[in-house]
Amino acid sequence: MNCDEAKQMLAGYADGELSPLENDALAAHLEQCGRCRQIVHDQQRVQHVLDQYEPPPVADDQWDAIAQSLRTELAGSEAQTELKTRPRIADLEPTPEAAVAVAVEEPVPPPPPRPAREVPQPGSRIERQVIRGPAPTRIVDRTRPRHRPAPFRWMAHLVGAAAAAAVVLLGLAALWLNRAPPLEPSALARQDDVDIMELRMLDEHHNLVFFAGEADDVAAIWVEPDEPSG
């Protein structure tokens, strides 16, 4: 057994928790390893100090108070108490700052009286009565501002609409300035010796503009007046 293997069992050896086989094997290692013997000694000394350690005593009346609260709990009077979120009384006392922000309860006005329910006849299907609890309460959080209508909200909408319109107009202006120059029909001649490759566009005078030639090398462009519609 080497020191790494022994280290796994030193606490068990110090506490007498090893099996006889493990104990004998470790004892043989300890006879020849002073460092591991020192660790066992340290473990036992720490344990000796812990053995003298006692928590502060609890007065009988404190135990009685807890026992009483448990009896009350068992009786069901605190059935709705949440276990993990139960704060102590001291924690419930708000600080002056927190008191300002604490939520308050406002009773909701009682609803108008309901019309008298139809009394079920014996043997009818409706035989259970609904028992209603007290009027519910509404929690009002004072820390959040109430919603109020903004008096100048229409101005914000107006400004936004104007900005959007300006953007659209600027875009249109840019398109207009960058438009292609209008073709001059008079400057173009009909070229019969080239193949018409593709009809490209109608110009601003509704003339058909033809491009002819290769895809990357336009040999000719000509324009034919569009047929008047109708």
Binding site: K7, Q8, M9, L10, A11, G12, D15, G16, E17, L18, S19, P20, N23, I39, D42, Q43, R45, V46, Q47, V49, L50, D51, Q52, Y53, E54, P55, P56, V58, Q62, W63, I66, A67, S69, L70, R71, E73, L74, A75, T81, L83, K84, R86, R88, D91
Partner: protein, 203 residues
């Protein structure tokens, strides 16, 4: 395991009798017997408090943990099938409640804007009239409390259950839901760390 076989046998018989008595009280508690609750509380309150105190480091917090643990016991008693002893089940509840409580309190302290300026909690220590022996005991307790607060949660729980409540490694393993080997490793590491932190007390 080591130890006197006769002594171990007597201890096992005592533990079996205690477990049997707990079982009878549990059955009565399931029927809503308030007296059974009182008896269970009286039998286990000191051990529950010992575990809680050593894990949360404050008497008032430990009493809160004990109260919440027994409330948990009452609410879960119908589902307790006796697969482990009541003692093991209770200690498991107390351990988890104490660790949860400690995390909750740490979280609350971290959230508090005035944490640095908050007054120190009232010392549960000696007064001017305290005899020197009690003052020395208080100093040792405080040193151990501070040292325990500085070892990891897992190692601390294993050490508290074994070294301070007298449970065997096997019982600690049942309470924490880990292997005996892991218990041994955690106790070893916890004591090695305490050896460093309590160097002045241990010498």
């Amino acid at each position: 395991m080591n130890g006197d076989p006769e002594q171990n046998g007597a201890g096992d018989q005592t533990a079996a009798r205690e477990a049997e008595r707990d079982g009878a009280l549990v059955e009565r508690l399931k029927e809503g017997d308030t007296k059974a609750l009182d008896d269970l509380f009286r039998r286990h309150r000191d051990a529950a408090y010992g575990i809680a105190y050593r894990l949360v480091g404050s008497r008032e917090d430990a009493l809160d943990v004990v109260q919440e643990s027994f409330i948990h016991v009452m609410r879960g008693i119908e589902g307790f099938r006796g697969q482990s002893s009541f003692r093991t089940w209770l200690y498991r509840i107390v351990t988890h409640a104490a660790l949860d409580y400690r995390r909750y309190r740490s979280h609350r302290r971290a959230e508090s804007l005035d944490a640095e300026n908050a007054p120190e909690p009232a010392a549960e220590g000696p007064t001017q009239q305290t005899p020197p022996e009690e003052a020395a005991e208080h100093d040792l307790r405080r040193a151990i409390d501070e040292a325990l607060a500085n070892i990891s949660e897992k190692n601390r729980a294993a050490l508290v259950l074994y070294a301070m409540e007298g449970m065997s490694y096997k019982e600690v393993a049942e309470v924490l839901g880990i292997s005996v080997g892991t218990v041994m490793s955690r106790i070893f590491n916890a004591r090695q760390r305490l050896r460093e932190l309590l160097a002045s007390e241990i010498g």
